[in-house]
Amino acid sequence: MSFVPGQPVTAVVERIEIQKLRHENNLILGFSIGGGIDQDPGQNPYSEDKADKGIYVTRITPKGPADDAGLKVGDKIMQVNGWDMTMVTHDQARKKLTKKREDVVRLLVTRKALEKVVKQSMTTYPGPQCSGMTN
């Protein structure tokens, strides 16, 4: 999950849709996030690249909405409802997740395990086809 600033990021992502739970006039998702461009990335225990200032999931409440949706601790959140999470401050990220008007958040998350699985399955596929007509 390392990246070069300024270059497009490629990652294998999983789509996770979390239905917010209504609890006493609050909408809770059931997980904690850490990170952000205003935070010290060296203290992130989940990031592979210690310069990664992305938003990571640091805790999941068991049986909470996030847990049911399949979010895992250590996941890096790339997008929330279409909003980018790779270059946001911690507070911006929190705000995008806790919008009162939204009942559901759709996340794009990435984790190392996904990449592993995809790589393993990709090795059995044939390579991409190229056209013979271009010149």
Binding site: Q39, Y46, G70, V73, N135
Partner: protein
């Protein structure tokens, strides 16, 4: 006077025998000439027709969507090329017919029209930004509206296409990585860029159903609308070909079942757009939102258009000269071998130096500011060429002389031509623009899709995946345990080693500890989620401090941060938790591990508090360590932590013990909740924190 095999211009009386004879002669000659040029084009046309037939056959035969799209693209390109060749053929025939008509003297233009030199034009790094609405993201969850796009680039008679790119709403730009080089382009070139797109629905069957619909639509429309549609479906911008003597009549596109590309946008670039850097150009978009092949284009296109005129890259003139700098004594002529190329006249001592790549003796600049004139040498009868340049206010003049008058004439002619070229190619002659030749080897793309911010593979989250992932991970862990003697640990283990990556105050031991502790994976894995949300622990907190209750001490609501990175008491915690759980069977699901261990962890916590004080050996004994090194590491940790029981580590012990989340109100007894909240407050104020927020 009149010679059969030389073209001359003269006024010939119409209807005269001479004229008829000439005409006949020219006809025969032109026919002969036609063949050589015609046959060239004819060969090209035949080649393209064959390619097109092949593409049609492939299109009819292929079943996969990708193949069909590629074949349709080739078909489009071939058709466009055929149209271009046909129109060129037509133009040539027309020109010949025009030439055969005798002209009056008054119609004759100047014979020696200078023609500017040709050049290479290269376009690269095409990028077309898209403008999706945010509603697009969630319109059809799981189903992506895809379009296949490619660009056709046409300059003169050369038509090239780029690779095909599949575009869906996760892409923000359409990027074409190809570099297309057009050789033999004049300065007045017009490079036409066309963007073709074709809708690529997943359930599209390369069969008759969509075509029926399309034909129904086109037939049900009004005459003008239908004509417009048909014109939109027509490939290429070429003018319709009229049947010029002997050329085969071709229908624009043979109707083939399969995906059809439509023109989405186009633009024309010319010399004024040439620059040695990226520029944005406007696109003219055809089509509207109702079309199936519609893409929300931003309306502009970025690319790098560079041109290398031949006068900059090739030698214009070369020969032996004698050069004298003005102001020197009249007899100090230097014999040089001079080459006129680009913006300078390179003067070498000998001709062999050129091949030997030796630096020229000196260089005379030839650019737009240079003035060249021929003047008679006062001392001899020959004509000299004087080249004057302005070097920062000073005028420096070099005088050249040659062996003979013809040489002087030739050099002057070369200079004139060079200046003409420079005036025609304008900004391209200021400096040589770099054109990167596309590498002959196409690098295999690592990702099958191109140019998107996120390479996405939609995995429907289901229990199967998580269990399979856990399977794979568990298998790997087992393998690693067997290999633990080597002390190697895959990088991804760090995901589960988070608490061992950092140590407050023991950074040196971090890396070795990581590798050492990896074999005892089950415990680590189970531990990680809990210690993930560790509470902060300022260094000097006394373990006896009493703090406020859970409500504001849990990491969830307050920005849970930690002091100096993740503390290392994870090892301590692991000791306590691992002792009761040593004989626990290894489960594959991470969630299961999570729940079981958490329960155990809480239970073990009570004992842990006092376990901190006793000597480390007792804690270490029940641990199923498979290698020596981690044991020693851990013991060191424990020793250090125990010895500083009143310092941060003890607080971190308790901190580690109640690391499990509490925000959701899951009740469990924490030994020192008050301590935690005070730590929170202090940690929040500490600038070196890593915030965590509960959402």
């Amino acid at each position: 006077m009149f010679c059969r095999n030389q073209t001359t211009r003269a006024t010939v009386a119409r209807g005269s025998a001479l004229e008829m004879e000439i005409r006949r002669g020219k006809f025969r000659k032109s026919l002969f000439l036609d063949k050589s040029q015609d046959s060239d084009i004819q060969k090209k046309i035949d080649h393209e027709i064959r390619m097109r037939d092949g593409a049609c056959k492939l299109l009819a035969a292929c079943s996969q969507r990708d193949q069909a799209l590629e074949a349709a693209k080739s078909l489009q390109t071939c058709s466009t090329r055929i149209m271009a060749y046909m129109s060129e053929l037509q133009r040539m025939k027309e020109a010949q017919v025009m030439q055969n008509v005798p002209r009056r003297a008054s119609d004759a233009g100047p014979m020696d029209d200078r023609l500017p030199c040709k050049g290479k034009v290269a376009i690269s790094d095409l990028r077309i930004p898209l403008m999706w609405k945010d509603t697009e993201y969630f319109k059809n969850k799981g189903e992506l509206h895809r379009c296949a796009v490619f660009c056709l680039l046409q300059l003169g008679g050369e038509i090239f296409d780029t690779d095909m790119v599949i575009v869906d709403r996760t892409l923000t730009d359409i990027c074409f990585d190809n570099t297309i080089i057009f050789n033999e382009a004049g300065p007045g070139f017009e490079l036409r860029v066309e963007l073709y797109s074709c809708c690529s629905e997943d359930d599209y069957s390369a069969g008759s159903t969509p075509r029926k619909l399309a034909s129904k639509l086109s037939s049900s429309l009004g005459r003008s609308a239908g004509k417009k549609l048909r014109a939109a479906m027509e490939p290429g911008p070429c003018s319709p070909v009229s049947n010029g003597g002997g050329a085969p009549l071709l229908l624009p596109v043979p109707s083939v079942p399969g995906p059809k590309y439509h023109l989405l946008a186009h633009t024309t670039l010319s010399l004024s757009h040439v620059q040695d850097s990226f520029r944005t150009h406007d696109l003219t978009i055809s089509g509207n939102e109702e079309c199936s092949y519609w893409l929300p284009l931003y309306g502009s296109m970025c690319c790098r258009l560079a041109a290398q005129p031949h006068c900059m890259t090739q030698q214009v003139m070369s020969g032996c000269l004698k050069v004298k700098q003005c102001g020197g004594d009249p007899q100090s002529w230097t014999k040089v071998y001079a080459i006129l190329k680009g913006t300078s006249l390179f003067c070498y001592h000998r001709q062999e130096d050129v091949e030997a790549n030796v630096e020229p003796a000196f260089t005379i600049g030839i650019n737009k500011e240079t003035r060249i004139r021929a003047e008679k040498d006062p001392h001899s009868k020959v004509q000299n060429i004087c080249i004057s340049n302005q070097y920062g206010g000073e005028e420096v003049t070099h005088t050249l002389t040659t062996e003979s008058r013809e040489d002087t004439h030739r050099w002057m002619e070369a200079f004139w031509q060079h200046f003409y070229d420079m005036s025609k190619w304008r900004q391209c002659c200021d400096d040589l623009m770099k054109i990167q030749l596309p590498s002959p080897r196409k690098p295999t793309p690592v990702t099958p899709k191109q140019g998107s911010l996120y390479h996405e593979m939609v995995i429907e989250s289901s229990d199967d995946l998580s269990s399979s992932v856990s399977d794979i991970l568990a298998r790997r862990m087992r393998e690693l345990e067997l290999r633990s003697q080597l002390g190697t640990s895959p990088t991804w283990m760090s995901v589960f080693e988070e608490d061992s990556t950092k140590g407050s105050g023991f950074p040196r031991q971090c890396s070795s500890r990581l590798s050492g502790l990896s074999p005892c994976t089950p415990h680590r894995v189970s531990r990680s989620p809990m210690s993930a949300h560790r509470c902060p622990q300022p260094g000097l907190l006394s373990s006896d401090a009493s703090l406020t209750s859970d409500s504001d001490s849990h990491c969830s609501t307050s920005p849970c941060s930690h002091h100096q990175g993740w503390p290392e008491p994870s090892s301590n915690f692991s000791l306590s938790s691992s002792s009761p759980s040593r004989l626990r069977p290894r489960t594959l699901s991470l969630d299961a591990k999570l729940s079981t261990l958490r329960g155990r962890g809480y239970g073990g916590k009570g004992t842990f508090q006092c376990a901190c004080q006793p000597p480390p050996s007792s804690l270490l004994a029940p641990l199923p360590v498979s290698s020596r090194s981690p044991q020693s590491q851990r013991s060191t940790q424990t020793t250090l932590s125990c010895s500083s029981s009143t310092s941060s580590n003890s607080s971190s012990n308790s901190e580690g013990s109640h690391s499990p989340e509490s925000s959701e109100g899951v009740p469990f007894s924490r030994p020192s909740p008050a301590r935690r909240s005070l730590r929170n407050i202090r940690a929040r104020l500490d600038p070196r924190n890593w915030l965590q927020s509960q959402v």
